[in-house]
Amino acid sequence: MNSSGDSCSSLMEVAFDHHHHHGHDDRELHVLAVDDNLIDRKLVERLLKISSCKVTTAENALRALEYLGLGDQNQHIDALTNNDLKVNLIITDYCMPGMTGFELLKKVKQESSNLKEVPVVIMSSENIPTRINKCLASGAQMFMQKPLKLSDVEKLKCHLMNCRI
């Protein structure tokens, strides 16, 4: 299970180290948000931006994989040798046509490059315990119930940045 605080802070250290080398604000998260629903994409993008995150959106899992450098064989080789992590977090809808968010999660976690360290959060409008457990068991950082609220994103950021209140 990936939900303990300890594994969380070490994950973020890996992600932030790369950003620090490139002179980025190491407190700014770059999030890849994946959702086939246009309204939900707009909402999650705004929620993340208002929470000081940089956001890239993708309308399906394939586009997300392309962005991450896993789109085709040549790009895949680049992803393996390149230490730069483009994003600090992937947040994806579960139910998408074609490749589901669950399949996307598995693809990321099966990576041999350090892309597998990127936390993946699954969102869903349906609260199905077996679905939630399946995602967590496959390495999802968190499961979030839609529709997303500001407090959800705040909780998420806190969880990822290992806030101590």
């Binding site: 309204i39 929620l47 529709p147 500001l150």
Partner: protein
């Protein structure tokens, strides 16, 4: 009508939408995402919702109108509409979609036709009410006023 009266009208009108269950707290979430840097966020998202929903309802009418209804086509559309209506706080549309999906699962064509009518009814209702809301807001802004903050917890 003076500015204060317009602002009061807007507040009363907004409250009535919540009391009638046409909107739920998710709409308040949308309003919280609007600020000086994004002053039109709510109307932008709602406009997207209208465009998307018009298209979906059209597709649903076509799909349900076929001689042999392909529920593999119908269900994803209802799922999408359920999702987007939920995301903007259009509670009655969302609830109508939940009922619709149950009948899709049962492959009950008759009931699905009724559901589609119900969804359309709720959708046109919320569309009408939100368009009125936005008009009231525009009138206030045009008169040099500010949109009163929505009171949470009433």
């Amino acid at each position: 009508m003076d500015l204060v009266q317009m602002q009061k009208s807007l507040q009363d009108y907004t409250k009535s939408l919540f009391l009638e269950g046409i909107l739920d707290s998710q709409f308040l979430q949308l309003q919280q995402l609007q600020d000086e840097s994004n002053p039109d966020f709510v109307s932008q998202v709602v406009t997207l919702f209208f465009q998307d929903s018009d298209r979906i309802l059209n597709d649903l009418s076509l799909s349900l109108g076929q001689q042999v209804v392909d529920f593999k086509k119908v269900d994803p559309h209802v799922h999408q509409l359920k999702g987007s209506s939920s995301s903007i706080g259009a509670q009655r549309v969302k609830n109508a979609c939940v009922v619709f999906r149950n009948f899709c699962e049962q492959q009950n064509v008759e009931a699905c036709h009724r559901c589609l009518q119900q969804v359309k009814q709720e959708y046109y209702l919320v569309k009408n009410r939100l368009e009125t809301l936005f008009k009231l807001e525009q009138q206030i802004v045009a008169s040099g006023g500010m949109i009163p903050a929505v009171e949470l917890g009433f």
